[in-house]
C-alpha cells in the first residue's frame, strides 16, 4: 500500500462527494446550496491539486490538469458569489445562484474525470 496514493485517492474522492453535495438541489434556489459546502470543496480541491505537484507520470500530469480545471471553475463560482453579495449587493438572485451552481457543476465534471482516471490507473496496476 502506497500512502501517497491513499492520501490522493481520499482527497480526490472527497472533492467529488463534497462537490456533489453542493451541486444537488434546485439549480436557482439559494436555500439548496450552502456556502460552507463550497468552501469545503475549494479547500479539498486545493489540497488534491498540490498533492499532484511534481508527479512525473503521464497519469499524474493529466490528474494535475483536471484538478486545475476544477479549481478554476470553483474560483469563478466563489468570485461570482463574492461579487453578488459584497460588491454589487444584488444578493443571491435565482440568476446568480444558477450561475454559481452550474460553475460548480463544471468543476464536479472535472472531479468525475479525475476519479475515473484514478480508477483506471488502479485497475491497470497489476500488483
Amino acid at each position: 500500500m502506497n500512502p501517497e496514493k491513499v492520501l490522493f485517492g481520499f482527497f480526490i474522492v472527497l472533492a467529488l462527494t463534497l462537490n456533489f453535495g453542493f451541486f444537488v438541489g434546485d439549480l436557482d434556489n439559494p436555500d439548496h446550496h450552502h456556502v460552507y459546502e463550497l468552501f469545503a470543496v475549494i479547500v479539498v480541491n486545493l489540497v488534491a491539486t498540490v498533492l499532484k505537484f511534481g508527479d512525473r507520470t503521464q497519469m499524474g500530469a493529466v490528474l494535475l490538469a483536471t484538478s486545475l480545471v476544477a479549481l478554476l471553475q470553483l474560483f469563478a463560482a466563489a468570485l461570482v458569489w463574492t461579487v453578488a453579495e459584497q460588491i454589487t449587493t444584488i444578493g443571491l438572485t435565482p440568476v446568480v445562484t444558477a450561475s454559481i451552481v452550474s460553475l460548480s457543476g463544471g468543476a464536479m465534471l472535472a472531479n468525475v474525470v479525475s476519479v475515473v482516471l484514478l480508477v483506471i490507473e488502479t485497475v491497470m496496476l497489476r500488483r
Binding site: F39, L51, G54, A78
Partner: protein, 567 residues
C-alpha cells in the same frame, strides 16, 4: 535537468499544503464564531471578509478588526490563529523562496533558457568549447566577421567574462562540462545549422572527447581541435577530425619557413594578421651557426626536429633530462637561467637562442642572462601566459611563441576565410622570390596595417550585377571587378590572390581572365577597396559604367529621352 524541476515542485507540496490547511482552519473559525455589527446586532462574518482578514493577519500586515470590531469570542480565536498562521506563513514562504533559489534549480532554468536560445538560431554557427585565451580571441574574430558562435566553458567566471565582452553578435554561452555529450547537444551540436565544432579546452582529454562526440553525433560537420601531444593528435586523426592544431608544431614549421624563406614567412604573417594589427618587418633568423634550445619539452622537441632538418648545429639545455629524454647530440643539464649553464652550452659562439620552458619568468631570465653574455643573439621566447604581455613586449624578443595566439589565428583563418587557408597551403610550394614580389605589391597597397582579406563568390545573391551581365552574354573580366567604379581609368587598391573554379585553383589569376558564374575569388587589399568593389558586384549601373564607360540613364523618363535622341 527536467528531474530537478519535478523535484522542486514535489518539495513545494508540504509548504503549500500547510498553508492551505491553516488558512482554511482560520477562515472557517472566523466564519463560524458569531459577532456583532456596530449597533450590537448579531452578525456573522462571511467567507469573503474572513479570507481577507486572514490574508493580512498571516502575513503580519494587520489592518485591524474589520468590518466591525470583534467580540471577545472572535478575539480569542484570532489570538490562536495569529500564532499558527503566521508561523506557517513564514515557514511556507521561506521554504518556497529557498526552493526557487536552489542552485541546481537555477541551473536547470538557465540550461532551459540556453537550449531555447540555441533552438531559435536561424543562421550558421560554430560551437566553441573552452572560452580561455584562445577561445576569446577566436570568438572576437568570428563575430567581427559577422559569424555566429556558441560557447561552452566549465568555469562560470569565464562565461561571465564573455557576457561583459563587447561583441558585434550575441554569443549564447553556457557554463558546463563539454565532455558530457548532453551539454554539447544542448549547445546545438545536432542543430542543422551547426557548421563546426572547435575544441579549445586546456585538457587534451576533453578536446578528444569533444571531437569524438561531434564526429559520432553530427558526422558531416567540421571538427577542429587543439592538441598538445602527438599521441592525442594521432588519436584524433584516427576518427577523422578535420583539423588538428598543435601550437608547438605550427610554430616550429613557421620558424623553419622563416629560416628558408623570410618573405614567404612574412607573407603568411601579413595575410593572417588581424585587421587592425600593424605590419611587422621581415625577420631573418641566422641560418648557419649554433642554436641553443633551453627546455626540451613539447615545444623544445618540435623546434629541435625542424631545426635539425635545416642542418643547424644545436645544443639542448634541460633541467630534468631524465623526464624529457634527450637527443643524441650535445646537451647540457641545467635550467639555463644561470650563466654557467649557458656558458657550458657555448652561448658566446651561438647565433640563436630559444627560451622554450613552460615558465615565463624562467624564459625571461634565460634571455636576459644570455644577452649579457652575447648581445647579438637572435632570441625566440615562448610565452605561456597572456597576462605577461607587457614584460614580454619590453624584452623585444625577435620572435615570440604564444600557443593560444597561434591556435586562435589558425582557426580564425580556417573558419573566417577558408580560401585564404587553401591559398597559404599552395603558397608553400612557391619559391621565396615569388613571395618577395607579392609582399612588395601588398606593401604598396596598404599603409602600416594588415590588409583586408575577402572572398567573392560569383553567385546571384552576392554578385547580382556580375551574374546578370554574364547571363546576358557580356564578357566580364577580372580587370572589370578590380576597376574603381568611380573612375574607370583607375584600379582599386587590391590584388586578386587566388581564383577557384570547378575545384581548380589559380594563384594570382591574370587580369584578363574571363569570369564565370560560381567562380570564387580571394582578394587582399585596403578596406575601402573592399567596400567599393561591392558596388561593382551588386549595382548594374556601376558595372555598366565600368564595362562601357558611359553612365546609363537610370529613370524611365531619361531612358526614353535618350532613345529619342539617338533616333
Amino acid at each position: 535537468m527536467q528531474n530537478i524541476i519535478f523535484l522542486i515542485f514535489r518539495r513545494m507540496r508540504a509548504p503549500l499544503l500547510a498553508l492551505i490547511l491553516t488558512y482554511a482552519i482560520a477562515v472557517l473559525g472566523l466564519v463560524l464564531i458569531p459577532g456583532q455589527d456596530a449597533d450590537g446586532n448579531p452578525w456573522r462574518m462571511d467567507f469573503f471578509h474572513a479570507f481577507y482578514f486572514v490574508s493580512f493577519m498571516a502575513s503580519t500586515i494587520g489592518f485591524g478588526e474589520i468590518p466591525f470590531e470583534f467580540t471577545n469570542a472572535q478575539r480569542l480565536w484570532v489570538t490562536f490563529s495569529i500564532f499558527f498562521t503566521v508561523v506557517v506563513w513564514l515557514y511556507s514562504i521561506g521554504t518556497l523562496l529557498t526552493l526557487f533559489q536552489d542552485p541546481t534549480f537555477q541551473r536547470a532554468l538557465t540550461e532551459r533558457r540556453f537550449t531555447g536560445q540555441i533552438k531559435r538560431i536561424r543562421e550558421k554557427f560554430y560551437l566553441i568549447c573552452g572560452y580561455g585565451e584562445t577561445g576569446s580571441a577566436l570568438i572576437q574574430a568570428l563575430t567581427d566577421r559577422d559569424q555566429h558562435a556558441v560557447a561552452i566553458d566549465i568555469l562560470q567566471d569565464r562565461v561571465n567574462l564573455l557576457k561583459l565582452e563587447n561583441l558585434r553578435q550575441y554569443v549564447p554561452a553556457l557554463c558546463a562540462d563539454a565532455r558530457m555529450p548532453i551539454h554539447l547537444m544542448e549547445a546545438g551540436l545536432k542543430h542543422a545549422l551547426c557548421s563546426g565544432v572547435v575544441a579549445l579546452t586546456d585538457s587534451n582529454d576533453a578536446n578528444l572527447k569533444v571531437a569524438i562526440t561531434a564526429k559520432l553525433l553530427h558526422p558531416d560537420i567540421k571538427v577542429i581541435c587543439r592538441a598538445d601531444s602527438h599521441d592525442i593528435e594521432a588519436n584524433m586523426a584516427s576518427f577523422g577530425t578535420d583539423y588538428i592544431i598543435d601550437p608547438f608544431d605550427t610554430f616550429a614549421v613557421h620558424l623553419a619557413t622563416a629560416l628558408q624563406a623570410p618573405c614567404l614567412n612574412l607573407l603568411q604573417e601579413w595575410l593572417t594578421g588581424r585587421e587592425e594589427s600593424e605590419l611587422r618587418d621581415p625577420i631573418y633568423p641566422p641560418s648557419d651557426g649554433l642554436w641553443v634550445i633551453c627546455g626540451f619539452g613539447r615545444f623544445g622537441k618540435a623546434v629541435y626536429d625542424q631545426l635539425r632538418k635545416e642542418g643547424l648545429e644545436l645544443v639542448i639545455v634541460e633541467a630534468e633530462p631524465e623526464k624529457t629524454g634527450l637527443p643524441k647530440e650535445h646537451c647540457v643539464a641545467g635550467r639555463g637561467t644561470e650563466a654557467e649553464t649557458l656558458q657550458e652550452a657555448d652561448i658566446q659562439r651561438a647565433v640563436g637562442l630559444i627560451a622554450g620552458t613552460d615558465h615565463d619568468a624562467n624564459n625571461l631570465s634565460i634571455i636576459m642572462t644570455a644577452r649579457k653574455l652575447n648581445p647579438d643573439l637572435f632570441v625566440i621566447m615562448r610565452q605561456n601566459r597572456q597576462d605577461n604581455d607587457a614584460i614580454i613586449e619590453a624584452l623585444h624578443a625577435d620572435m615570440v611563441m604564444h600557443p593560444s595566439a597561434i591556435v586562435a589565428n589558425r582557426i580564425r583563418v580556417l573558419l573566417g576565410t577558408p580560401m585564404l587557408h587553401e591559398f597559404l597551403q599552395l603558397v608553400l610550394y612557391q619559391d621565396d622570390e615569388w613571395a618577395c614580389e607579392l609582399v612588395s605589391r601588398i606593401a604598396a597597397l596598404v599603409t602600416s596595417h594588415a590588409p583586408d582579406i575577402w572572398e567573392v563568390e560569383l553567385s546571384e545573391e552576392t554578385t547580382h550585377a556580375i551574374c546578370q551581365s554574364v547571363l546576358e552574354g557580356k564578357a566580364v573580366r577580372l580587370r572589370d571587378v578590380v576597376t574603381d567604379p568611380r573612375n574607370r581609368s583607375k584600379l582599386l587598391q587590391c590584388i586578386p590572390l587566388m581564383m577557384l573554379r570547378n575545384n581548380e585553383r589559380v594563384l594570382l589569376p591574370e587580369m584578363d581572365e574571363m569570369l564565370h558564374q560560381n567562380d570564387r575569388i580571394l582578394f587582399c587589399g585596403s578596406h575601402s577597396a573592399a567596400n567599393r568593389m561591392e558596388w561593382t558586384l551588386q549595382n548594374e549601373h556601376a558595372l555598366s559604367y565600368i564595362l562601357t564607360g558611359e553612365a546609363r540613364p537610370q529613370g524611365l523618363l531619361w531612358r526614353w529621352l535618350k532613345r529619342k535622341e539617338r533616333a
